[in-house]
C-alpha cells in the first residue's frame, strides 16, 4: 500500500477526536483534521488569534479580511463561537484549557521532546509563533508528520537534532506509515501501514520501537489530493 497522503493522515487523526473536545490545529497539515471530524460532534476549534469555534473556510463572497485564523486563512464561525483578544487566547492555551493540540513537526524524540519551529533555513529569520506555548501547556500534544525526511532520514529519534519547541510533551505521533504513542519507555507502535513489516518500520525509525499487543493495520479510505 502507498503511504498515506496528507488528507488520509488528517482523516486518521480525525478518528481520535472526541465529541466535546477543545482543540487547536497547527498550520499546514493539522488544520485539515477538522474536515474529518463527524458533523454531529461539537468540537471547538481554537485559533491562537482569539477565535474559539473556527468553522470551515469562507466562500469567496462571504470572506471577511478580519475573520481569519492564525494561518491567515479566511474562515467562518461555528454556532456558539466567541472571539477574544490575544492575551485571553494565550491564557486559554497556557492555562491548560486546550484538550489537544495537533502540530506538525520536523522531529520527535522517544522521550517526547518536540522540534517543530526552526529547521535552520539559511538567510531566514526565526519564526516561533504559538508553537512553544501550545506544546508546553496543552493537555495533550499530538504530532502529524511524514515518518521520514525527503532524503529518507528518520524524524523519530532518540534525541532531536533541531532546536526544541518543548521538552517531554508529545503523547502521540501520526505518520504516513504508522501510529505511535510516546510511553515512559519510548515509542509504542499501535498501527502500521499494510505491506510494511515491523523490521522495515524499525529500519526507518531512529529510536527503538515497541509494538502494542493489539498492534493492527493502518487503514484509511482512499482520499485523493486536490489537483495542484
Amino acid at each position: 500500500m502507498k503511504p498515506l497522503n496528507r488528507l488520509q493522515m488528517a482523516w486518521r487523526v480525525g478518528q481520535d477526536i472526541e465529541d466535546g473536545m477543545v482543540v487547536n490545529l497547527g498550520l499546514g497539515m493539522p488544520v485539515g483534521v477538522s474536515d474529518y471530524v463527524p458533523q454531529d460532534f461539537d468540537v471547538v476549534v481554537q485559533s491562537e488569534n482569539g477565535i474559539i469555534g473556527v468553522g470551515p473556510l469562507a466562500s469567496a463572497n462571504a470572506a471577511d479580511s478580519d475573520l481569519v485564523d492564525a494561518g491567515s486563512r479566511k474562515v467562518t464561525l461555528r454556532a456558539g463561537a466567541t472571539i477574544i483578544d490575544s492575551a485571553a487566547s494565550f491564557a486559554m492555551i497556557r492555562g491548560g484549557h486546550i484538550d489537544v493540540t495537533i502540530l506538525g513537526a520536523f522531529e520527535v524524540a522517544s522521550n517526547g521532546d518536540l522540534a517543530n519551529w526552526d529547521n535552520r533555513i539559511p538567510d531566514k529569520g526565526p519564526l516561533v509563533g504559538g508553537a512553544m506555548d501550545l506544546a508546553a501547556s496543552a493537555q495533550a500534544v499530538w504530532v502529524m508528520m511524514e515518518h521520514n525526511t525527503r532524503k529518507g532520514g528518520p524524524r523519530l529519534l532518540e534525541a532531536c537534532t533541531l532546536p526544541l519547541t518543548a521538552v517531554r510533551c508529545v503523547k502521540r505521533v501520526y505518520t504516513d506509515i504508522a501510529v505511535l504513542s510516546v510511553m515512559p519507555q519510548g515509542f509504542l507502535v499501535h498501527e502500521i501501514l499494510p505491506g510494511i513489516s515491523r523490521v522495515e518500520l524499525q529500519r526507518r525509525t531512529g529510536a527503538p520501537l515497541a509494538f502494542a499487543p493489539d498492534c493492527k493495520d493502518l487503514i484509511t479510505p482512499d482520499i485523493a489530493l486536490p489537483e495542484a
Binding site: 485559533s47 471577511d64 472571539i83 497556557r94 509563533g129 501547556s137
Partner: protein
C-alpha cells in the same frame, strides 16, 4: 472640558512619537493592522525605534517600510520571516548584517509580557520555552516539580492599534479577529492611538465596549 480624543489627520494622531521610542503595533494574520497610522509614523520619521509587533514583516502590514527606511533599531516579535517569500526582505538583510537587533519570543510570552506591563507586573514565570534556545540565559525556577522561565514585562511608549468603532471618549469595539493584540498593547503603552473604521456620535453602549476609552488617548477615523 469635554473629552474629545478624535484627531483630524493620521499625522496629528501620531505626533510626538520621538527618537528611541518603543512602539507597539497591533495586527495578526491580516487583521488589525493600523496601516494608516504606520504610514503617518513613516512620514514623521523618528529614528532608533524599538518595534513590538507580532510579525516583523507581515505581508499585509507596512511595518517593513519603517524597517526599510532605517527607522528601527530593534524588533521584538514572535515571527521574523520576510515580507516577501521569494526575496530577502529589508529586515532580513539588516538582520544578516547585524544592523538590527531581534528578540524573538513565543507568541504567548510576547502577549503576556505586554499584558503584564499593562497590569503593573515587572516579571513572571512561565513554563513556555523551558529547555529551548529561546530560554537561553533566562532564570529558571522549579515550582511544585515543574520548571518555569522568568520573563520580563514589555512596556511601550506608544501603541498604534486598529479597531472598528470609537466614540469621543475613546471607547472601542473590534470587528472579529481584528482585536488580537490591541487591548493588551493599549494597557501597556503611554500614548495609545486607535485607527478606526467609524466614529459614533453617541456613546457606545457600555456593555458593547470591548476596550475602555481610559486606555486610549487619540482616535483617527480612517474609514474601511
Amino acid at each position: 472640558m469635554a473629552i474629545e480624543k478624535r484627531r483630524a489627520t493620521a499625522a496629528e494622531a501620531v505626533a510626538g512619537i520621538g527618537d528611541g521610542a518603543t512602539v507597539m503595533l497591533s495586527g495578526f494574520a491580516g487583521a488589525g493592522f493600523a496601516n494608516q497610522l504606520v504610514a503617518a509614523l513613516l512620514d514623521l520619521g523618528p529614528r532608533n525605534l524599538t518595534l513590538v509587533v507580532n510579525s516583523a514583516t507581515h505581508r499585509l502590514s507596512n511595518t517593513h517600510e519603517l524597517i526599510a527606511a532605517g527607522m528601527v533599531r530593534k524588533v521584538i516579535c514572535s515571527a521574523a520571516r520576510g515580507h516577501d517569500k521569494s526575496a530577502l526582505s529589508a529586515f532580513e538583510v539588516l538582520y544578516k548584517e547585524g544592523k538590527i537587533e531581534l528578540e524573538v519570543l513565543p507568541q504567548g510570552t510576547f502577549v503576556e509580557s505586554i499584558r503584564a506591563a499593562g497590569a503593573g507586573i515587572p516579571a513572571y514565570f512561565t513554563p513556555t520555552a523551558f529547555g529551548t534556545d529561546l530560554a537561553a540565559g533566562k532564570e529558571v525556577r522549579n515550582f511544585d516539580g515543574r520548571d518555569y522561565v522568568l520573563e520580563k514585562s514589555i512596556p511601550g511608549d506608544a501603541a498604534l492599534i486598529r479597531a472598528d468603532v470609537a466614540d469621543r471618549w475613546g471607547n472601542l469595539t473590534f470587528h472579529h479577529a481584528q482585536m488580537n493584540f490591541g487591548p493588551a498593547m493599549a494597557t501597556a503603552s503611554k500614548l495609545v492611538v486607535a485607527e478606526v473604521r467609524a466614529f459614533s456620535d453617541t456613546p457606545i453602549p457600555p456593555e458593547q465596549v470591548m476596550l475602555s476609552g481610559v486606555f486610549v488617548d487619540r482616535i483617527f477615523v480612517a474609514g474601511a
